[in-house]
């Protein structure tokens, strides 16, 4: 599928992450117990980058984890096939920490709900915040992000494609239109 238009390029993404890192540092000033957890797969890549920047800003080590939410999806029973499961890695104690969940695109909010539930299987964080590279609207749950790279007003039949160098070979965010017969 080709993108109708590219809305964020490599340097835009880098700037957005840098700004989010500053905001995380500011909102959590004096709290030494911040940790970053990315949602598979591209959220985890962005989380690793955000953590690098944040460590430089804070001058301390920031724990990093990643979560796979396949087990926690609310549509496991209605999809024809079982969703593919990836390993999760949360190798630090989350009790009492501020956890910043990172994802690439915020859409209905269902993924984030699943991620929050998954996170609580590891312990009881003090607070949970949400950082996303792009917020495209159309929420179906009462969830809002704490840090947003870019707000992207979209129509439902459009698709937001986040590509990251680590997986896709290129850093960019594009919007494409899905033909009606395959958008379901």
């Amino acid at each position: 599928m080709t993108d109708g238009k590219i809305v964020l390029r490599e340097d835009d993404i880098q700037r957005a992450l840098t700004r989010i890192a500053h905001e995380v540092a500011e909102r959590n000033a004096g709290d030494a117990k911040v940790a970053i957890v990315g949602i598979h797969r591209r959220g985890a890549v962005l989380a690793a980058r955000l953590r690098e920047i944040l460590q430089r800003l804070l001058g301390t080590a920031v724990p990093l984890g990643d979560l796979d939410i396949a087990f926690y999806r609310d549509d496991v029973a209605s999809r024809p096939e079982a969703p593919v499961v990836h390993s999760s890695h949360v190798d630090f104690d989350i009790d009492g920490r501020t956890i910043v969940i990172v994802d690439d695109v915020l859409y209905t909010g269902r993924t984030v709900r699943a991620a929050i539930e998954a996170l609580f299987a590891y312990g009881r964080p003090q607070r949970v915040q949400l950082a996303v590279l792009a917020d495209r609207g159309h929420r179906e749950l009462p969830i809002r992000p704490d840090y947003v790279g870019k707000n992207l007003p979209t129509a439902r039949e459009e698709r937001v494609n986040v590509r990251v160098a680590e997986i896709d070979g290129v850093d960019e965010v594009g919007i494409s239109v899905v033909p009606a017969e395959i958008s379901a």
């Binding site: 087990f71 024809p80 079982a82 590891y122």
Partner: protein, 310 residues
């Protein structure tokens, strides 16, 4: 995949997929809450016509880690003792609408038959001397974690092959994964013509040093109503895996429960080569992967079997 009845139904790709999924499920056991909601609202029925502690408890634990509801049904103390047939038992239990039935019976082919009587997914947990597919999958998982890909690995399966469903499933699974399988034991305990499966047969352990993996089978005393070996002591003398026969570079496996002092010496069981505890651990994650593959996704897409005349 609608059922797991036999390793014969799985190609290498399917085995690799289940083992790969199991690798990813292993992490759930390290969480503070060792449970994920993937199979919430599904019901798994454990139907065991034969004694089993580890297989049944590991299926139960696997289902519970995935948040499925589990009902255990054992033949002793049930209607089976009052003479109910397998078919009637299945039809009765199907009224509870289980999503999966995990079944162990002493009758070869029973799991296959049952799959025609109910719309539940059937998992064969051992049918007589025929197959025990989840055991083979967990053994492949255990070996791959230790050795990587099994291509070219030499695996010796030693002991009572004739009564062993584990042997039948494992020969198929190990070969599909590229391993070279040799069977060893007294001629009375090796089925005639089993070379047709593509494995070598040895009637002594003189070349055991060639093996990378030694897989000892349990001497099934409960199935030995006839004189298959002159005596267990004689068997142990010739075929027991002990510290003298086992080399430090080999891995030792056993499906359990071990008869210490018969097929394995106590020393061998406790040796660093033994991966028997790892096999038990693998049992839960591999069974999670199997239940997940069978039960996640919509069951609305599954065919319901045509009613059959008995």
């Amino acid at each position: 995949m609608n059922h797991l009845l036999s390793i014969e139904d799985l190609d290498r790709e399917a085995i690799e997929r289940i083992v790969e999924q199991a690798t990813r499920f292993a992490e759930v056991g390290d969480r503070e809450i060792k449970k994920v909601p993937a199979l919430r609202g599904r019901m798994v029925l454990n139907l065991f016509y034969e004694a089993s502690t580890r297989t049944r408890s590991s299926f139960e634990l696997a289902a519970k880690r995935l948040s499925a509801d589990v009902v255990n049904f054992v033949s002793s103390g049930s209607a089976v003792e009052k003479g109910e047939s397998l078919k009637d038992t299945i039809l009765t239990l199907s009224a509870h609408k289980p999503d999966a039935i995990v079944i162990r019976t002493p009758w070869a082919g029973a799991a296959d038959l049952v799959s025609g009587w109910t719309s539940a997914a059937i998992v064969n947990a051992g049918d007589g001397k025929h197959e025990h597919p989840t055991q083979a999958l967990l053994d492949v998982y255990t070996l791959q974690r230790r050795l990587g890909p099994l291509d070219g690995v030499s695996i010796w399966i030693v002991g009572d092959v004739v009564h062993s469903r584990v042997a039948r499933s494992n020969i198929l699974a190990f070969q599909r994964m590229g391993a070279k399988v040799t069977l060893a034991g007294p001629p009375t305990l090796i089925p005639r013509g089993i070379e047709a499966l593509g494995c070598d047969v040895r009637y002594s352990l003189s070349e055991l040093s060639k093996a990378d993996v030694v897989y000892a089978l349990r001497m099934q005393r409960e199935r030995m109503s006839e004189a298959w070996v002159p005596s267990l002591r004689e068997y142990a003398n010739w075929f027991q895996i002990d510290a003298r026969r086992l080399s430090p570079r080999q891995l030792l496996m056993h499906p359990g429960p071990v008869n210490r002092g018969i097929e394995l010496s106590g020393e061998a069981v406790d040796s660093p080569q033994a991966v028997i505890a790892e096999q038990v651990e693998a049992g839960v994650v591999v069974r999670m992967a199997v239940l997940y593959e069978l039960l996640a996704g919509s069951r609305a897409f599954r065919p319901v079997p045509e009613p059959q005349l008995a």
